[in-house]
């Protein structure tokens, strides 16, 4: 499949816009304010962001950068105060820090749940769930309950369920996967392996991924493009195309992140 990468390494390149057909997500001048009057808190301000179909984008930022708000806007769970959000992908699906599997359902039934909610028949559902569990290398554990699985396995079931949700509606539009620090609660070894697995699954499925993280190393390893957000309110500070930079990128991004954080001192 073809991947369109927005090579936007400086403010001047923001005008380079891909053709609408290849854009999965288009945010223009998006702002979000919670509350009114003196109690108002601005979570996001003036966000312009485009994500191409099949792109892997990492949103990086310290606490309070409005990452979760941004994901909620993309998922349609909240409405922006200003600006427009347009998502042309199929139903966006979420993955959280916790696997958040339904504890009363088996692994396979958890993966089937979004398909069931979308009204798919039993046979089609089962086949699809088996395929997806195979994709995340969990064939054979479909009958297990969440508590019988390790943390890493649960998170992979959650990934399979998110993929099921992203493709639950008919049509050709590839799915959009919104990931809110999905590996943050795992131990370092499991996280390392799952990052590799996520890349493999992403390449195999062609899904668009918007991945939120605190971790520069994780962002650089996974993403094609890293977007650094400032905190309170969240704005886009800079973005880097990972392919175009060498190994010094990690230090450069870390340096900028430090600057953003230091500006909040005192």
């Amino acid at each position: 499949m073809s991947k369109v990468t927005l090579t936007d390494s400086g403010p001047g390149l923001a005008e380079v816009r891909p053709a609408p057909a290849t854009t999965a997500v288009d945010l223009t001048g998006v702002g979000k304010t919670f509350g009114t009057g003196t109690a108002a808190v601005t979570a996001l301000r003036g966000i312009d962001l485009r994500v191409a179909h099949g792109e892997f984008l990492c949103l990086l930022g310290a606490s309070g950068c409005g990452k979760s708000t941004l994901l909620n806007l993309l998922a349609g769970l909240e409405k922006p105060t200003t600006g427009t959000v347009s998502v042309t992908a199929a139903r966006p699906s979420f993955m959280f820090q916790e696997a958040a599997l339904m504890p009363w359902l088996t692994a396979a039934r958890n993966v089937e749940l979004p398909l069931q909610l979308a009204g798919q028949g039993r046979g089609a559902r089962r086949t699809r769930a088996r395929e997806l569990l195979e994709l995340v290398r969990l064939d054979g554990v479909g009958d297990k309950r969440p508590h019988e699985l390790s943390g890493g396995m649960r998170q992979r079931v959650s990934l399979a369920r998110a993929l099921a949700a992203a493709t639950s509606t008919e049509g050709d539009a590839p799915g959009l996967l919104l990931m809110d620090e999905p590996f943050a609660a795992l131990d370092a070894i499991t996280r390392d392996v799952l990052q590799g697995e996520l890349l493999r699954v992403w390449e195999a499925t062609g899904t668009t991924v918007v991945f939120v993280t605190h971790d520069v190393r994780e962002a650089v390893r996974l993403a094609q493009r890293v977007v650094l957000l400032s905190s309170r309110p969240g704005t886009v500070v800079r973005e880097w195309s990972v392919d175009e930079h060498g190994p010094e990128l990690h230090d450069e991004i870390t340096g900028r992140l430090r600057q953003v954080i230091t500006s909040h001192a005192a």
């Binding site: 979420f94 958040a100 339904m102 009363w104 979004p114 909610l117 290398r137 309950r145 195999a204």
Partner: protein, 304 residues
């Protein structure tokens, strides 16, 4: 499973090198093998001996002490009967067949009352749990009713409905509805907030959300409420049957107990109390305990 037994052949051509993904698959399989929680299943006979033997031994001890106290004759015969006399009384009602009508009268009332209570309490509990106005309006009342002994309603019920079945059911319902409704409220309150959120992201709205997320997630609390509701309805039924006795009401366990007391037949009183206990414990052990065990075990909430 040792890693060398796991053969993942990668057929995807998207990946860079075949050996790389093979490594990753092996690493993953190894991690899964190391991290999977181990579940120790206790064989059923050991579980049975562990859960059945102690209460049986305790029961035998109680009967032995009872026999010793009776034999020492510190209390007059009309206050404490011999275990054998109670056994004879029991055999007597079995022999003349009256035990079946006594048991049927009480148990059928308890079951019908409990079923009606379920039908009333379930929507009531959902309303209290999900509608803030309803909760602040009748939530405290519901908790208050739970601590009010339902036997307190018997005099009023007798005045309203006379000595009829309506009196009995009224008391039983007031005993069990608050427990069941409160159990459901507690069950809904204890749902981790992430689950409804995930449900919404996966496309569950309105009724589908209630059916696929809310109700199954609240099931353990609901079941606990039902269990307590059963105990309360059985208790209220006995209170009602003892106080409200009349020809229109037939002879249930409560009336049998009352008759024993009225005729100074202490053996019949003991036999009635024991029967009430046995039925209450029996339903709990045969119906609610297995149900609860299944639900909790499926969620990994109860020890094997």
């Amino acid at each position: 499973m040792p890693p060398e037994l796991v053969e993942h052949r990668n057929t995807s051509t998207d990946t860079n090198t075949d050996t790389g993904t093979d490594d990753s698959a092996r690493a993953l399989a190894g991690l899964d093998a190391l991290d999977t929680p181990t579940v120790n299943r206790v064989p059923w006979w050991r579980r049975a001996s562990r859960s059945v033997l102690p209460p049986v031994v305790a029961l035998v001890l109680i009967v032995v002490i009872w026999q010793i106290v009776w034999a020492s004759a510190v209390t007059p015969e009309y206050k404490l009967p011999a275990p054998a006399a109670v056994w004879d009384e029991f055999l007597g009602i079995v022999a003349d067949g009256s035990i079946w009508s006594i048991l049927w009268t009480s148990i059928s009332r308890a079951f019908l009352g409990f079923a009606i209570a379920l039908v009333i309490a379930t929507p009531l509990g959902l309303l209290v749990a999900k509608v803030p106005v309803v909760r602040s309006a009748i939530g405290p009342l519901l908790s208050g009713l739970q601590s009010l002994p339902s036997v307190a309603w018997v005099p009023a019920a007798v005045l309203w409905f006379g000595l009829t079945d309506a009196t009995i059911y009224f008391v039983v319902l007031l005993g069990s509805v608050p427990s069941i409704a409160n159990g459901l409220v507690a069950g809904v309150d204890q749902i981790p907030p992430i689950l409804p959120r995930v449900g919404r992201v996966l496309g569950a709205r309105g009724l589908a959300s209630a059916r696929h997320v809310l109700l199954p997630a609240a099931l353990p609390g609901y079941l606990a409420g039902c269990k307590q509701g059963w105990a309360f309805s059985w208790r209220s039924l006995m209170a009602a049957e003892i106080i409200a006795a009349g020809p229109a009401l037939g002879i249930g366990l409560g009336a049998y107990l009352k008759n024993g007391s009225d005729f100074n037949n202490i053996a019949a009183v003991f036999s009635a109390v024991l029967l009430i206990l046995v039925v209450g414990i029996g339903i709990e052990l045969l119906v609610f305990r297995p149900l609860e065990r299944r639900v909790l075990r499926a969620r990994g909430l109860a020890g094997a």
